[in-house]
Symmetry: C2
Subunit: 219 residues, 2 copies
């Protein structure tokens, strides 16, 4: 495992390189992640964009009993979702890496559960945007920081399929909402490369469907 | 304005520094952002975490008429939200910078509207998490990349308060959902510093409320 100084160095990697090489890493080894490293990653996460009156908070799960309960919920969620996924995607590697995580969830050294104070608003839609927009930017910073540090991480909501169960497991008050989960560990083997379409395919100019940059990659 | 080579250089800034200095920048000058720069930022955004079958897409608004319609919707949304915000926050600088954006929305050189194919699921909650978790990570990458490039940007949903109106303005099919908006431009004056609490205040260990790192900042 790298020292904290080595981690601090790695967190100065070029931002564009970190973004281009960040992708979900679900297969990790059981090796420890020290508190200093973890708090450094979460500190970077806390700088992300958020609503003016909401802030992402993190429950860091290291306790084997709490982890086991999240693992059980994750397996229940996965047993349903894997059937959905198989009908939607031919991507066997992705299904296998999720299966691996489901089978080895207890071995992942740290599980971060992102929560926010307040209940999720169903309406208006911009209220829901503001709510989730106070959590996922922080998690993207966390994923990038983990990638820069040489750690593997991925974003999932499966262990939270029952909010009632997740609240009980994590001792969350009713006014706190769990939103997503990031398992973190040192990568096992080579991470799966993320596949990204040419940027021009996801860019529309002025109106939807007007795609003058189609099939265009990096300048 | 910097050349594209200068922008490419800036995008190699240390990731931790970019995260720690990124914050909402709403006051910008009317100066142009060229296509190469914009596509580079959006390409970096497209590498972010997303659901296995959803991907954030971007409507880049440069056309004055389309921008004017978004500006009008933003002003309508702001006229209501500013009263909410004044009861919640004593942060006058933040209210003023939002007022500035509302007053000068048409002058912002580029408005990016993030959209995703599909309707937002109300239930189950993890379905909503997966939906928004495919959009906001990309927008956080966009905000970080803009910050690294020396551009100012901020996240808002106000111009989308009426999805019906936003769909008409942007020509969005019914199956496409607009989620959030990022106005981008070269910063006017010194950006507002983002205030972030000590990381230990937003970290709980194993169960909510157990905060052994409270008041702890960076290691």
């Amino acid at each position: 495992m790298p020292t904290f100084d080595e981690i601090a160095d790695r967190l100065h990697s070029p931002v564009a390189d970190v973004m281009r090489t960040q992708g979900p890493v679900r297969r990790v080894v059981a090796g420890e992640i020290d508190d200093d490293t973890l708090l450094e990653l979460l500190e970077l996460a806390s700088h992300a964009s958020s609503d003016s009156h909401r802030r992402c908070e993190f429950v860091v799960v290291r306790d084997p009993d709490v982890k086991h309960q999240l693992a059980r919920a994750n397996r229940q969620g996965w047993s349903v979702y894997k059937r959905v996924l198989r009908t939607r995607s031919q991507d066997d590697a992705m299904v296998e890496s999720r299966q691996w995580l489901s089978d080895h969830f207890e071995d992942v050294p740290v599980i971060v559960v992102a929560c926010v104070r307040g209940r999720r608003p169903l309406f208006p839609a911009i209220g829901a945007s503001a709510f989730y927009g106070s959590v996922f930017p922080a998690l993207q910073n966390l994923l990038l920081a983990a990638r820069a540090a040489g750690l593997g991480a991925a974003l999932t909501a499966l262990p939270l399929w029952s909010h009632w169960e997740a609240r009980r497991t994590l001792g969350l008050p009713r006014r706190v909402t769990p939103v997503a989960v990031v398992p973190i560990g040192w990568p096992r083997g080579t991470p799966e490369p993320a596949r990204v379409p040419p940027v021009g395919n996801v860019v529309h100019l002025d109106r939807w469907g007007h795609q003058p940059y189609r099939a265009r990659g990096r300048p």
